[in-house]
């Protein structure tokens, strides 16, 4: 199973995402923002970092990278896409996910081990979790406050598109404690916390993040 990891100028957690794919039993494939070449991957991860230095708005420039046109097209055909942190910001800027990520309410960059509640276990990236399960994975961002108009939030909630909610504390002031959302078809998931940093006992607060990467191996087969 080939899982692409897209590197933009300023991507930082691409090596981590590739490692997580490998530990889950997949084959990580490096993708370059400037190429129109998805290299026959079965799914794509947009990793964390500061693509283009977060200039203009976080994710705004990367969302217009050449390869993102291919990602959007394939995503609309059902290819699983995961956006982590900056990748989530890119997905929102690219219109694949609703809402926007703005500066944390307290204005600080914040890195902590965060409890999340899994609200949906039927997306391409969460099949190995149970609905209602609590997981601990790191969160680290300066612009991670999820916002959308109230009506849109109501609609998202109604459609069950909130995948993760911050639990035992909201690290950035996100509306309704939303940590991650999904597309209508459940194939595209974006979240601010970093599952790729919780895949080894040695280096993470837990191995709770591994489930993202094992889930997609099955989901991509099923597709």
């Amino acid at each position: 199973m080939r899982i692409g990891v897209l590197t933009f100028p300023g991507s930082l957690d691409d090596v981590d995402a590739a490692r997580a794919v490998r530990l889950a039993g997949g084959e990580p494939v490096a993708l370059w923002h400037a190429d129109h070449d998805l290299k026959d991957v079965d799914a794509v991860i947009l990793p964390g970092g500061f693509s283009y230095g977060d200039y203009l708005r976080a994710g705004a420039i990367a969302a217009r990278a050449p390869l993102m046109q291919d990602v959007v097209a394939r995503a609309n055909d059902g290819m699983p896409v995961l956006g982590i942190c900056n990748g989530f910001q890119v997905l929102c800027e690219a219109g694949l996910l609703p809402g926007a990520l703005t500066r944390n309410s307290h204005l600080h960059f914040r890195n902590r081990d965060q409890v999340l509640t899994v609200e949906r276990s039927d997306t391409a990236w969460t099949g190995d979790y149970a609905t209602g399960q609590r997981i601990v994975i790191p969160v680290k961002n300066g612009e991670g406050r999820y916002v959308a108009a109230d009506a849109d939030l109501d609609r998202l909630e109604g459609e069950g598109r909130v995948v993760f909610r911050y639990t035992d504390g909201n690290p950035n002031g996100s509306s309704r404690d939303i940590a991650g959302v999904t597309s209508e078809n459940g194939r595209v998931v974006g979240l601010m916390p970093h599952p790729e940093h919780a895949v080894e006992d040695l280096t993470g607060p837990s191995t709770d993040g591994l489930g993202f990467f094992t889930s997609v191996l099955k989901a991509a087969v099923a597709a």
Binding site: L12, D13, F50, G53, H106, L107, H108, P138, K140, G142
Partner: protein
């Protein structure tokens, strides 16, 4: 009208602003005698920045030679003199690490000063051919509740985090300490560590006639002009002009691209020499490259890409615009080099070439404006044997013994003093700071703050890794700079050892007052002598370092602050020892000997506002025995935490608070001494097999005292006091948020400098 070499030869008596550029009259005379004429404006600019204290080490050089005289170490692949030293950590891996100050810029403009401090040290590490893998920061501010600390600290922390986070480098530890002496002169010392294979080490030299000089990275602007001479080599005073234009502005995104481009350029073997542009900018890079090489160098200054077309040639040569590097490239490889830069959107320009002969020449608009022997600029600057005097107040200070201070005697008093030390700004929880740093990126961080040492995996297959600690207790160094430097070395060594690593090499950042004050110069010389002697005794090489002088406000210098970094190696990071207690029912053992030593202690400072007496006795042989014992303990102990500032009281609290596991303890002898003495060469370990630890300790010659058993939700000292973990945590974790704002409450009131301007 451009001041050319030709013009300078014809107008020997023109007045020149050498004093404004920070040169002394005898230094100016020496430049004239080297050149056989007056310098041009551009040459004067180059000499002034390169002969500044910051670049030339003119006051410290005669003392620093002691580090070079240390016995040969097989571990040292590249020693002092290059951008950073390189150490063999086994399996063909080489590690380069260095700590550097950015004190003065951080006071003037906290966010950018600190950010570019990180950027500068990262480029030093990159220049050696290594991939930077982690950073650390050692910070000092004035009193925690002083108004100016509220201005400087949030900006510095946001700057260290803003730059390092955006580069994708985990911050794995450091220090945050407060003292009145830093009120007008905070210290911002940043460390970077990088890893490469042995064969990938790069050096800064220009060789090969006809090879091209390529400037790449950011455009050159008007920021940071004279940073090294005007800022770093002068004392601030209240009435002086604002020096903000001397501070550089950082762009970490460009630096991230520079890192990836450089690593790709190294991998394809496209450079023969490389140098970063830091302090003194192009003046430094060109003269150092040419000086270290075999030939000369010619630069056509018109080709330098500028942000501001009105810059004069002297300003271009002095600018400290960030995120720039200079490479020496064979003509046949230039196209490939430029192609890599294009891929990463890095601007790269051929600005000159390596020439025959031994001159560094620079042209501007077709005229020669610089024609100098590069060694006289880069490596043969002035060297001073500054006068030294033992501080007049030192005898009285040492006689003012902290042992005479009123001590707590009842359980309630002991408890109050314990809480006071643990919740003091120096002892308190540092989460307010470290939450602003990414410690996870790259996925190899095994231990990070609040652990004693940062531990990073460098090979995912073999599990080989490194440990790093930074320590710089200035109270000890004020009382006795020789012993103080050794105690800092000992603490960093101990912090690396408690993680289970084998200490391997030393770096340093020596922060002192004005070298023109004989008492400061004495403190500096004593600290260097102490560090050199200490390294000799521990068998560790000094791989390099940084000197920051003129850290004073008016005529009051800071306490001497030698910050010492120790690097250790883990053959298998899975065997690292964490610092906190995690399991109930384990035996708590104190390793090492406790004496009644309170001089310079946290207790004397926090409870009595006192600094006096002598610092704890230095016993490096005992440190070495403790270190060797700890190296053999992985598997036997489940936690290890060193004792330092705040003594056993601080260590027990931190061990318990890490995972919320308490302990029942019985302390024999004088309880006050047991809790608050700061005797060195000690650590607390917990174990399920105390007999085995005792046996190992006996064999190593390390005294063992059983303190009690872990478990419960209190720290209880039999028959005397009982501290609830919840109560302890509340006190410990409230201090910094109370001083600098609980982020959730701070919405709407933004401390100056906390919001990145980029």
């Amino acid at each position: 009208m451009i001041d050319t070499v030709e013009l300078a030869a014809k107008s020997p008596d023109d007045e020149q602003p050498w004093a404004e550029l920070g040169l002394k009259s005898d230094e100016y005379d020496r430049i004239k005698s080297i050149l056989g004429r007056r310098p041009t404006t551009a040459e004067l600019a180059m000499y002034s920045v390169m002969w500044s204290e910051h670049c030339s080490y003119k006051s410290s050089k005669v003392h620093l030679r002691q580090f070079g005289d240390l016995p040969h170490s097989d571990a040292l692949l590249v020693g002092i003199g290059e951008n950073a030293g390189v150490v063999d950590v086994g399996d063909g891996y080489a590690v380069t690490f260095k700590v550097e100050s950015h004190n003065h810029p951080s006071y003037v403009e906290p966010y950018q000063g600190a950010a570019t401090g990180v950027g500068g040290i990262v480029r030093d590490i990159l220049t050696m051919g290594a991939r930077p893998i982690a950073v650390m920061d050692s910070l000092r501010f004035g009193r925690a509740d002083a108004p100016d600390t509220a201005r400087v600290l949030p900006g510095v922390v946001a700057g260290v985090g803003g730059y390092g986070n955006c580069l994708g480098l985990p911050n794995i530890g450091g220090e945050l300490l407060f003292d009145d002496c830093y009120a007008g002169n905070p210290l911002v010392n940043a460390l970077c560590v990088g890893v490469m294979r042995h064969e990938d080490v790069r050096l800064a030299k220009a060789e090969g006639l006809g090879n091209k000089v390529i400037l790449f990275g950011a455009r050159t602007g008007g920021d940071g002009i004279g940073g090294v001479s005007v800022l770093a080599s002068e004392t601030f005073d209240e009435h002086g002009p604002a020096k903000r234009p001397s501070v550089q502005v950082g762009d970490p995104f460009t630096e991230k691209l520079l890192i990836e481009a450089c690593l790709e350029i190294f991998a394809a073997d496209l450079v023969t020499g490389i140098q970063d542009l830091g302090g003194a900018g192009l003046s430094c890079a060109t003269s150092e490259l040419a000086s270290a090489g075999t030939g000369g160098m010619h630069v056509d200054l018109d080709t330098v890409p500028l942000r501001d077309s009105t810059l004069t040639p002297a300003e271009i040569l002095m600018s400290e615009s960030q995120e720039r590097m200079c490479a020496i490239v064979e003509p046949a490889k230039v196209d490939a080099f430029l192609a890599v830069c294009r891929k990463w959107d890095v601007l790269a320009t051929v600005i000159g070439e390596v020439t025959d002969g031994d001159r560094l020449t620079v042209d501007w608009h077709g005229e020669r404006i610089v024609d100098v022997p590069p060694r006289t600029v880069a490596h043969e600057g002035p060297v001073y044997e500054r006068p030294m005097t033992r501080p007049a107040d030192l005898d009285a200070l040492q006689a003012d013994d902290a042992a005479r201070l009123p001590r707590p005697s009842t359980g309630a008093e002991l408890q109050a003093h314990w809480l006071a030390v643990v919740s003091s700004p120096d002892g308190a929880d540092k989460t307010w700071v470290t939450e602003q740093y990414d410690r996870y990126v790259r996925g190899n961080t095994v231990l990070a703050q609040p652990e004693d040492a940062g531990v990073v995996r460098i090979d995912e297959q073999s599990h080989r890794g490194i440990a790093l600690a930074l320590d710089g207790n200035a109270r000890y160094a004020r009382l006795d700079p020789y012993a103080g430097a050794q105690l800092n070395l000992a603490e960093a060594y101990r912090n690396v050892a408690v993680s289970g690593a084998k200490p391997l090499a030393v770096t340093n950042c020596l922060n002192f007052g004005s070298p023109e004050e004989p008492e400061v110069m004495w403190q500096f010389a004593e600290a260097v002598r102490g560090l050199a002697d200490g390294c000799r005794e521990l068998g560790l090489p000094v791989t390099g370092g940084n000197v920051s002088l003129y850290n004073q406000t008016g005529d009051v210098p800071i306490n001497p602050t030698p910050v010492i970094g120790v690097l250790g190696v883990h053959e298998d990071v899975r065997r690292r020892i964490p610092g906190g207690w995690r399991a109930d029912g384990e035996t708590v053992l104190l390793l090492g000997e406790t004496r009644a030593e309170f001089g310079g202690s946290a207790w004397a400072s926090v409870v009595h506002g006192h600094l006096g007496g002598k610092p704890p006795v230095v016993d490096l042989a005992a440190e070495r025995r403790l270190g060797e014992l700890l190296a053999g303990l992985p598997g036997l102990v489940s936690s290890a935490h060193d004792l330092a500032d705040g003594g056993l009281a601080q260590t027990l609290a931190e061990s318990a608070l890490r995972y919320g596991v308490g302990a029942r303890l019985h302390l024999d002898g004088d309880l006050f001494t047991a809790l608050f003495s700061e005797s060195a060469a000690r650590a607390v370990v917990t174990t399920g097999d105390s007999d085995a630890v005792r046996t190992a300790a006996a064999a190593a010659g390390v005294p063992v005292t059983e303190l009690g058993t872990t478990g419960g939700d209190t720290l209880t000292v039999d028959g005397l006091l009982e501290l609830g973990i919840t109560e302890l945590r509340a006190a410990w974790s409230a201090t910094l948020p109370a001083l600098f704002g609980a982020p959730e409450i701070a919405v709407g009131s933004v401390p100056a400098g906390t919001v990145p301007t980029s």
